[in-house]
Amino acid sequence: MQYTDAQLRQIHLAALAAHALEQQQEEFDRARRTDNKLSDTEKREQAEKIREATADTYTWLTRYTKTFNPHWKDHGWESPYRAFPSWPFVRPLCEYLEDDSERVKLIEKSRDMMATWTIAGYFTLQCQLVAEREVIVQTMTDEKGFEVISYAKHLYASQPQWLRDAFPLPKPLDKQPSSEFRVGTSVMHVIPSGIGKIRSYHPWGIFSDETAFQPEAEVAYDEARASGVRKIVLNSTANAGWYYDFTNDATMARA
C-alpha cells in the first residue's frame, strides 16, 4: 500500500504524539507511585526489595547509594562517585543513631571520618521513609549547612532508579533551594546557628554539625530540648568550649 507524503507526515506525527503521551503517562504514574504495568506478584517483589534496601541506614548507605568526593582525581579514582565506605565503625555509628532509647546522640570524632555524611544519610533515609518528617540542620554558617543538604541530595540522587521511584520528590532536585531537601512530604532544611533560631520550629530531628565550633551552641541545645525534638544529634571534632566540657562533664555551676 502506497502512502502519500501527507499521510506519512500524519502517521509520523501520530507516532510522536503517542510516544509523548506514553512518556507523560509514565511520569504521571511515577508521580502517583502507581505502576500499572506491574503484576501483583511483581509489586510484592518490588516492595520487598525496597523494604530490604531501606531496612537500616547501614545497608542503605553502603549498598544502595553513593558518596561524592571532589578530590577523586587526586586519589586516582575513575569517578567522583564512590560507594559509601564500609569501614568497621560505620555500622555501630548507624546503630547508635538509630537507637531510639535516647533522644540525644553525642558524637566526638577525629577529622575526616565521614561522620557528617553518615549522619546526613541517617536523616535522609528517615525523611524518605516517614512522611512529614522535619529535620533541621545547624552548623557554624549557613553555607556549611547547605553542604550538609547537598550531601542529602547527593545520597538521594545516587540511589537506583527503582528506589528513587519509590520515594518521589515533590520538586526536582535542581529546582529545590540549596537550603532544603524535600522528599515526599518530608523536609530537611538549614537554619542559622545561635540563640533563638530554633524557636517556633517543632522538628522531629536536629542535626548540629561541628557543635564545638558553633557560638551559643549551649543555649541552642537547650532550646532544641525544650522544643520537644525527638532526635538531636550533636557531632563535632575537638575544640575548646562548651561541647567538650559538656560531653566530659567538665562543667560546674556558673560564676
Binding site: F89, I107, E108, A115, A238, G241
Partner: protein
C-alpha cells in the same frame, strides 16, 4: 547482640565517663546525666590504624604534615584543649615545651619549709569556694653573679568545692576541710574578695553581718580584704608579660604552678600540694566574645569571661598583693633628690622638700618622718583636733 549493644550493657557496670570499647577506635561512655557519648578515633579506619602497615604510613605522612603537634592532637586525637584555642593562657599552657617550664609535674617536688606562705580565697555557695596557697622563696643572692634573685612564686595547694549532691558547700564543712591544708597556719596573709567583709547578710537580730564573720565563727584563719587591682586585663598582663615574660626565649618563669594530677574536669576537694583545678580554670580562661553588632560600635573586649574563675580570682589576689610595691621611705626619696647638689643648694632643697612632706601630712608633729605602714594611722588633718572631743 551487636558490639554496640554489648558495650552499652557494660556501661551499667562502670563509673560515669568510663570509656568502653565498641570496636577498635570507637568507644562509648556515659555522662553523669545518663546520656551516652560516642567517640570515633581515626584508628577505627583500618587504613589509618597505626598498628597496621598501611596505617603506620598514613600516620607518619599525616602527622608530619601538621604544623604543630598540638594541632594534630586537637584535630585527630580529639584533645580539645591541646592548642589552647582562644584561651588567654593557651599560648603557654597549650604548648608542651612551655607547659613543662611553668608547671611542676615532678611527683617528688615539695616546697622548701623555710619559704613564706600566702594565700588567696574566693567564697562561693552555688559557685565554687576556692582557696589557693602560694610559696614565696626568701630573698637570696645569686651565688654566681652576686645579684639579688628575682622574686618567684610557687602556687602549690588548693581547696576547691562547689555544691554537689554529696556536698552542700556550707562554710562550716568547708572550713573543716580547709584547716587541713598544710602550712596555711603560718601564712603571712590570706587575701579574700572584699565583698565578704561587707555587712550585707541579714540576721534575725536585726543588724546585718558579713560572711567573714561566719568564717571567723568556724575558726577559719584570719583573712583580709584584697585591695589591689581587680582588672582581668591587668591580671593577664601580669602573668603573660611579667611572671612568664620571655620564657619562650629561654628565660626562667617566675610563676610556677605545681600540678602532678592535671584533669579535664574539676576535681573538687583539698589538694594539699597540687593545683589541678587552677590549671583547669587557666586552660579555659577566655576573653569575652562580642557580637558583630557590638563590634560595630565598640572595640573588642579584653575582659575575661566571668565563668570558672574561682581560683583565678585568688591567684589575682596573690599576685596583686605581692606585686604592690612596698612604699619607699620619704627620707630615701629626699636623699635621692638632693644627692649630687652642692653644699649650699643641698640643705636648702632638703628643707623645702621636708616642708612639702610636712604639708602633705607625712611628718609627725615633732618633725620626724611618719612610718609608711603603721598599724594604727591617725590623720591629724581630718580629726577633731587634740583639744576637741568628738561629738
Amino acid at each position: 547482640m551487636t558490639n554496640l549493644e554489648t558495650a552499652i550493657r557494660k556501661l551499667d557496670d562502670v563509673p560515669d565517663q568510663t570509656r568502653v570499647e565498641v570496636i577498635r577506635g570507637v568507644n562509648i561512655r556515659r555522662k553523669k546525666n545518663g546520656l551516652t557519648v560516642m567517640a570515633l578515633h581515626y584508628s577505627a579506619i583500618p587504613d589509618r590504624d597505626p598498628e597496621t602497615e598501611k596505617g603506620a604510613a598514613w600516620y607518619a605522612k599525616e602527622n608530619g604534615g601538621y604544623a604543630s603537634q598540638s594541632m594534630w592532637k586537637k584535630e585527630q586525637e580529639m584533645d580539645a584543649y591541646a592548642t589552647g584555642g582562644e584561651a588567654v593562657f593557651g599560648s603557654v599552657l597549650g604548648n608542651p615545651r612551655l607547659y613543662e617550664l611553668v608547671v611542676i609535674s615532678d611527683p617528688f617536688w615539695y616546697p622548701d619549709p623555710r619559704w613564706d606562705v600566702v594565700a588567696g580565697f574566693d567564697h562561693g555557695v552555688t559557685n565554687a569556694t576556692g582557696l589557693l596557697k602560694a610559696y614565696i622563696p626568701r630573698e637570696a643572692l645569686d651565688p654566681r653573679t652576686g645579684e639579688k634573685m628575682p622574686l618567684e612564686i610557687y602556687i602549690c595547694g588548693e581547696f576547691y568545692r562547689y555544691r554537689t549532691d554529696e556536698w552542700s558547700n556550707n562554710v562550716d564543712e568547708n572550713v573543716v576541710e580547709m584547716k587541713q591544708m598544710p602550712d596555711l597556719d603560718r601564712a603571712r596573709w590570706i587575701k579574700a574578695d572584699p565583698s565578704i567583709f561587707y555587712d550585707a547578710v541579714a540576721t534575725d537580730k536585726g543588724a546585718p553581718t558579713n560572711i567573714y564573720q561566719t568564717y571567723k565563727k568556724n575558726n577559719m584563719w584570719p583573712m583580709s580584704g584584697y585591695d589591689g587591682i581587680r582588672s582581668d586585663v591587668t591580671f593577664v598582663e601580669w602573668i603573660m608579660s611579667d611572671w612568664w615574660k620571655g620564657i619562650a626565649g629561654g628565660r626562667k618563669p617566675r610563676l610556677h604552678i605545681v600540678c602532678r594530677n592535671p584533669s579535664d574536669r574539676p576535681q573538687p576537694g583539698l589538694h594539699p600540694f597540687d593545683c589541678p583545678n587552677l590549671l583547669w580554670e587557666m586552660k579555659r580562661a577566655k576573653r569575652v566574645q562580642m557580637t558583630s553588632r557590638q563590634l560595630l560600635t565598640k572595640n573588642a573586649s579584653e575582659a575575661l569571661v566571668n565563668k570558672n574563675n574561682h581560683l583565678l580570682d585568688p591567684l589575682k589576689q596573690i599576685l596583686g598583693t605581692v606585686r604592690n610595691p612596698t612604699a619607699i621611705p620619704s627620707e630615701e626619696i629626699i636623699a635621692g633628690q638632693i644627692e649630687g647638689l652642692d653644699m649650699f643648694t643641698g640643705p636648702m632643697r632638703g628643707r623645702f622638700l621636708m616642708s612639702a612632706e610636712a604639708l602633705g601630712g607625712k611628718l609627725n608633729l615633732d618633725g620626724t618622718l611618719k612610718k609608711p605602714k603603721s598599724p594604727l594611722r591617725i590623720d591629724m588633718r581630718k580629726g577633731p583636733g587634740c583639744l576637741q572631743r568628738p561629738r
